[in-house]
Symmetry: C2
Subunit: 216 residues, 2 copies
Amino acid sequence: MLSTTERTRVRRGKNRARTDRDDLYDVLDAGMICHLGVVVDGAPRVVPTAYARVGDTLYLHGSTGARSLRAEGEVCVTVTLLDGIVLARSAMHHSVNYRSAMVYGTPRPVTDPDEHMAALEAVTEQLAPGQWDVVRRPNRKEIAATAVLALGLDEASVKIRDAPPVDDEEDYALPVWAGVLPVRTVFGTPEPDPRLDPPRPVPAHIHGRSTRSSAR
Amino acid sequence: MLSTTERTRVRRGKNRARTDRDDLYDVLDAGMICHLGVVVDGAPRVVPTAYARVGDTLYLHGSTGARSLRAEGEVCVTVTLLDGIVLARSAMHHSVNYRSAMVYGTPRPVTDPDEHMAALEAVTEQLAPGQWDVVRRPNRKEIAATAVLALGLDEASVKIRDAPPVDDEEDYALPVWAGVLPVRTVFGTPEPDPRLDPPRPVPAHIHGRSTRSSAR
């Protein structure tokens, strides 16, 4: 179960709130990038970034020079998966089907070398499953240049909308098509690096993603 | 041209920064949802929301009860389009191809009725082009329940990565496939509302989206 705090209590669209921790894991595991919110000089700053979940910890990584990863204090990490455009009979009831997770907390800089390496593996695998075992792993210099933050999943909320449009009762008689236009994230045909010499076949763990949707 | 301020000056990945205003428009116009960052009680809060661009103004809308739209002060609106997974020969050079726009500013609540209606039209059309002309338009009560914020595009930055992996020179000899796995957002087959009675054909402006990528 996800515990509820003042700010994770869902006020708008309460019927969309989920309190099962597995729903949180599912959304976080299905995403490829998150939006990291920090406060810099009193103003909000929202940066797309790579991430990964390991157990009840979210790892974020970036250059040690990136301001968004050096910011102190609380962060908000939001992962949103757009699943459909909800087409209603009235303009106001247009909506989207989506899965969204928000995680609040004060991140901890990862300093333990083993945890640092495990986090880099997890972030690489979240974006590109199967790559960690075939590519050159980070060396000492690269690790030193990479900041990793760990954020516990103690304060989080999940919202999911997965439903047809909900129109005002009197609008159902309108002669307007209504329903959901599904949105999917899919992978295209892998494009070899022009500097790939000699040519190599695309490994199964890469081309295998092209044939199926990533969104579910 | 986009003017540069202290916080829109791109520090990380400078070769990815674009300064052409048309690049900003292109990214904002291609997105379907944005991530709105606000500061609530000193902490960041990042909420996915619908939006639209009209000229040099970004419109955000939501319930008048939504805390993120009632927050005062500055906001940061980020729109990110993921275009590909960059698969390098080393773990550290894994990356993503993407287009991302960040807009900073203090939004203005829209109170003029004509601007309010035009903003609702723009937000509806951003999600679902062609719907405004066929659905019931907002009535007075619905308009009163909808908060619309206007954010000028005065302070904005755009980053685009659209390239093969860049590996360390000595890694190019590694026997590892490298390249880009494209990521596309596509529309599936429209799903009629179970309450659509009698059945109606899916209008061309809806089913026409199913056959082409939305991402480019």
